[in-house]
Symmetry: C2
Amino acid sequence: MPKTGQEPSPTKDLVTTYLSDVKSRVDACILDFLPIAHEHPDVHQLYQMMLDYPRRTAKGLRPALCLLICEAFGGNPERAVNTAAALELLQNWLLIHDDIEDGSELRRGEPCLHQKHGIPMAINVGDALHCKMWEMLLQNTEILGHPLAFRILSEFIQLSNQVVEGQHIELSWVSNNQWNLDEDDYLTMCVQKTAWYTCITPCRVGAIIGGASDADIEVFVELGKNLGVAFQIQDDVLNLIGDVGRYGKEIAGDISEGKRTLVLIHLFNACTPIEAQHVIDIMARPREEKTEAEIESVLHLMQKYNSIEYAQRRSKALLQEVAGQFRNNFAHLPEGRAKHLFLSLIHFFVEREY
Amino acid sequence: MPKTGQEPSPTKDLVTTYLSDVKSRVDACILDFLPIAHEHPDVHQLYQMMLDYPRRTAKGLRPALCLLICEAFGGNPERAVNTAAALELLQNWLLIHDDIEDGSELRRGEPCLHQKHGIPMAINVGDALHCKMWEMLLQNTEILGHPLAFRILSEFIQLSNQVVEGQHIELSWVSNNQWNLDEDDYLTMCVQKTAWYTCITPCRVGAIIGGASDADIEVFVELGKNLGVAFQIQDDVLNLIGDVGRYGKEIAGDISEGKRTLVLIHLFNACTPIEAQHVIDIMARPREEKTEAEIESVLHLMQKYNSIEYAQRRSKALLQEVAGQFRNNFAHLPEGRAKHLFLSLIHFFVEREY
């Protein structure tokens, strides 16, 4: 039962059913593709580690976006499943490296890979899955032919360049102990680090396989930016007020890790200079030097200044913009299951509780 | 002047001239390809970090193998420069991650990237260069056309799968504190971790672009295994007795890092059980807990039992095998500069002092 006490709506049911259907098709594709056994015991162990994150529970939002957009443009989503699976592999290698870089502890309800096997092995497992992602994309030559497979590869190149830049910006803030950030700084980072791989590219590759025009494909840059930022803001909110059992990461882990979020930036703009200094003093320390009471005190200030509500409002406003962009730009597409589900799915991006 | 006191031979001069020529063409290609400036200061910094390893002095052996084999098969090496540059990018991202995984300190005469910028940023810079490698390989569609470009991509996929497995085997030995290894264990690891990306794939992609037959391309698997192992053994030897100024890594760094090498395996087979335990006691400790005297004592035992000489003999024997394989299998290729230089180059693999 959702924490808000609302009854599950029929639309929400449709979305969760669709998500679980997509996830099982994509999972089957990935588990069929990744190696599972090797006679050399160490290589066998590597294969098991490569399967670890892909086997953990995940929502599969990126594959769902890809398949729905493909269908909305009249394409056969079956032809996009391989590409959707590559999006999941991307997510998995990114998360393995990201968890090391952020010093995270939990991922999808279990200890992070580097917590289980150490940083050296976890880096290498991430690299192994990274390579497998390109291998999977090369398989598109058989499914889509050379020119289209090449075009999808180019899209993944573009997104990779974005995501490493976004990641570097965020790591620089930590490394430089930088806290004087405004919303634009956050948005720039968030678009590059999250929106490209979570929304822009999933929609673009779905549209490309669906046979969309270049002009239609371009719409997904702006639309995906807004959706990606809305998604990330909701992720930041859930990190603070979510249910660990459903969310799968430690609650307020972003405070432990010293993450710069829209909630935090709002707080800095709203609170007194003394309070801001108090927050920075806590946030800037390594996680092992933070007490629970200190983390609580930051959360308390976020509540006092309604920073979490502010972020939720921003996220919902972005969602409205995305829905408008979608309706305005794609009025020429037939009304049907895919368009309807897409609009429901983007609401789930912002209203989800996990 | 070489430490052995030999005069530089005319053949050696030819090789070093060729290497420096190839290196400058490949470097020009890489520096032209990698981004150098960005208005966002953090992204700009990322670009500088991505240029760090590629700008350090390196021999460029892999590109040289690729271009020479292309030429030996009658191909135009200009068409292979882009692929040769991708081999250098591969080497660079692998080294960045490898240096983190091994806890190394020096690379090509300078502190390792993670020593300069911390592990989180260095992981991400490695990922950024990894993505750039695939981007560079996609450029082959314009140079070689779709089918050949995809074939080269498949070769890189194959090698990537090998290299992460070899890396995992080596990391497992460290993680499991495993020392009871025989030569076959070392050879398996070494073929996967080193030979594929250093010799097999560089030769194969050169041959493919040069228009070689499938049968000829397959020869490079066995030939490249031998050459790669010979190369790695010489690398292990130089690590123990090289000149830091020329070799660019700390001398006896492999003992500090606890690396399993052919030299070490020979020592374990030759020395007394008490000496073996003494060596393991030192090797197994973290590098910061090893004294110089302890490292010296391991080196001393390696000298006492002629383990370094043994490794050098093995390396030279492998080289003779490679030369024979090359002559026997490729008698049908015209005698000319490329064949001659290839045979000189493989001698350099084993006789080099840096």
